[in-house]
């Protein structure tokens, strides 16, 4: 579903920073726009300020003086969360232990004075949508982690919020369940088409769920872009290494080539610099016979993963290079192999500021 066809409110935050009472700066003043119906993922390691930004949008934290939060162009900065019409899923789910599953889902509707009959119909609709039929009368402590996650989502969506806010909703689950629910959540978010802001430290969640991803580092926005942009054209070493696996290569440049210990690697674009830091994704490197390849090195280790095998090759660049090779390639550690990299797979990173 495209952004134009989506539901909910658009969000704009202006110069929102956050300094806590003890003086720690959780968030540098940041400005960000989220279109109606868009799913925006705030991604970064713990302590990067992503949760603080979400809480400012939710109305659970006030931004420092000068910061503003706007929903559909209306200034909401001073409006408390209970009057912002946001649906929120907390990392710990915050389900009410004193209420049944259906009372939890219906609570926001009850607050809004929705008549009981209508409420029951809406709860039934969400129970079906989130696949938790049969659990309506359970107590919260009788639910598994995955079921709790669904109830929390159903409860947040029940009130038809203008904006859906999710704070690491899958982090509390084990890996297999997390993968399954990620796909389910993706389909659900697409079906709802509601403006969604999703906080996670997991880059695969960010890739799958986000229309756009905001990568954050130490309270600052490091890069904003679509998952493809973030993956293929990271603008810093931090983003390159945080998203997926990346080889970072430091080398001198001569006549449009990186000069490496294992050979010369052609590059695209601006060659008017004498040295560069480049990023090369492991899956863009092709394995060839040592004699006929532009680059060569010695295999340090081979890890068979199943759908591919991961080789660590030394002697090509200033540090060992990780290469994802097809699972049919025969490789043994200690062997000499040849490598070839397409020039457009080499991404020159801007010098660190």
């Amino acid at each position: 579903m495209s952004a134009q066809a989506g539901h909910g409110a658009s969000v704009r935050i202006e110069a929102c920073g956050k300094t806590f009472a003890d003086g720690t700066r959780a968030l540098e003043p940041a400005t960000l726009e989220i279109a109606r119906g868009e799913t925006l993922v705030l991604l970064g390691p713990s302590g990067c300020g992503k949760t603080t930004m979400l809480r400012i949008i939710a109305g659970l934290e006030l931004p420092d003086a000068g910061g503003r939060v706007l929903f559909d162009g209306k200034d909401m900065t001073a409006v408390p969360i209970e009057r912002r019409n946001v649906g929120m899923v907390f990392q710990s789910y915050a389900l009410f232990p004193n209420m049944s599953v259906s009372d939890n889902i219906g609570y926001g509707l009850k607050i809004r004075g929705v008549p009981e009959k209508e409420r029951a119909a809406r709860v039934a609709e969400l129970v079906a949508l989130t696949n938790i039929s049969g659990l309506e009368n359970r107590r919260i402590d009788q639910l598994s982690g995955g079921q709790r996650q669904r109830v929390a989502l159903a409860r947040a969506v029940a009130i038809r919020p203008g904006i859906l806010l999710l704070d690491e909703p899958l982090t509390a689950l084990d890996a297999a369940l997390r993968d399954r629910l990620r796909g389910e959540l993706n389909r659900l978010l697409r079906a709802l088409g509601i403006t969604t802001i999703y906080v996670t430290h997991d880059q695969s969640e960010a890739m799958e769920l986000g229309d756009r991803v905001v990568v954050m580092q130490k309270g600052k926005i490091a890069q904003i872009g679509t998952p493809r942009e973030i993956y293929f054209t990271p603008n810093s070493r931090f983003v390159a290494e945080f998203i997926g696996a990346a080889n970072i290569v430091e080398a001198a440049i001569e006549n449009g080539h990186l000069v490496l210990p294992g050979g010369r690697q052609p590059i695209d674009g601006d060659a008017n610099i004498s040295a560069a830091v480049a990023m090369i994704r492991p899956e863009t490197i092709r394995v060839l016979a040592a004699e006929s390849a532009p680059l060569s090195g010695v295999i340090d280790s081979v890890s068979f993963i199943g759908d591919r095998q991961r080789l660590v090759v030394s002697g090509v660049s200033n540090r060992s290079l990780t290469v994802d090779a097809p699972n049919t390639v025969r490789a043994k550690s200690g062997e000499r192999i040849g490598l070839s990299i397409s020039p457009d797979a080499v991404r020159l990173l801007p010098p660190e500021r």
Binding site: A21, A58, L60, P80, I81, E82, R83, N85, V86, G87, M88, F90, S92, Y93, A94, L95, F96, P97, N98, Y107, G108, I111, R112, R155, A156, I159, L165
Partner: protein, 261 residues
């Protein structure tokens, strides 16, 4: 064989300790229904002492319960919201306030009473009414309510539940009513149990604050020990037991049921 000997040894020791603690209570209670304690139980069993105590102290006993439940009401109305505010706000100021609330645990009741008398003793009507005792009891029992409610808040992550309810549109009052109080119920019950029991049994603070017309159960007890025959004082103890034990058992059962839920 050896295990059995150890078990029997432990069992006998336990019985002795229990006996040491229980026998005085039994003796005291039985003295209350004996015609003449010095001649022993052969002198006959009677309820006359109990009747006499009831006649003399019915007002005192009633007042004790009035004070106890008024204390409970006051600690519920102020203590539960206070615990909520202290927990949600957090930080240094909250810790200081918590310490101040807890202070009456460490300060002797006599000193608190003296301070109250010095400050408010001049307000005659207030000084003479049972409300003066109520104030003392609220000061003394408040930390038990606040602390037991805060202990529950710490285990159920009440702050996130509160935020969850807020995100669904609930006003602070609705949140307090629908989410905070129901989830703090075990703590509120435990706190209530403490408050009522402590208020009913409180002596040293009340002793300083009471007037001849505002006496509570323990003051009446001291009064009868000092001025009446032993059988009357013992009958008083009996009444005290009969009053307080069902109350304690009821609240304990209620608390247990709540915990199992």
């Amino acid at each position: 064989m050896r295990d059995r000997l150890i078990f029997i040894g432990q069992f006998i020791f336990t019985l002795l300790v229990a006996g040491f603690l229980v026998v005085p209570a039994i003796l005291s209670i039985s003295a209350g229904v004996t015609v003449n304690y010095f001649r022993g139980i052969q002198s006959g069993v009677t309820l006359q002492w109990v009747a006499q105590v009831w006649e003399l102290y019915a007002g005192t006993i009633l007042l004790s319960f009035v004070v106890a439940f008024a204390t409970l009401a006051a600690t519920l109305v102020t203590g539960v919201p206070a615990a909520y505010a202290l927990h949600v706000r957090g930080g240094r100021l909250s810790r200081i306030v918590e310490e101040i609330i807890t202070l009456p645990l460490a300060i002797p009741g006599l000193a608190i009473a003296l301070a109250l008398l010095l400050t408010y003793g001049g307000f005659g009507d207030f000084r003479r009414s049972w409300l003066f005792i109520l104030v003392g009891h609220v000061i003394f029992t408040m930390p038990f309510m606040v602390r037991s409610v805060m202990a529950v808040f710490a285990t159920v992550d009440i702050k996130t539940l509160d935020e969850g309810a807020a995100s669904l549109g609930a006003s602070p009052w609705r949140r307090f009513r629908d989410v905070i109080v129901p989830n703090a119920l075990p703590g509120i019950l435990a706190g209530s149990l403490m408050v009522v029991t402590l208020s009913l049994g409180e002596f040293n603070l009340t002793w300083m604050l009471h007037t001849p017309l505002t006496k509570t159960l323990p003051i009446g007890l001291a009064d009868s020990y000092a001025s009446m025959r032993l059988e009357v004082a013992s009958a008083y103890t009996l009444i005290f037991f009969v009053m307080i034990i069902p109350l304690l058992v009821a609240m304990q059962l209620f608390a247990e049921k709540e915990q199992k839920r």
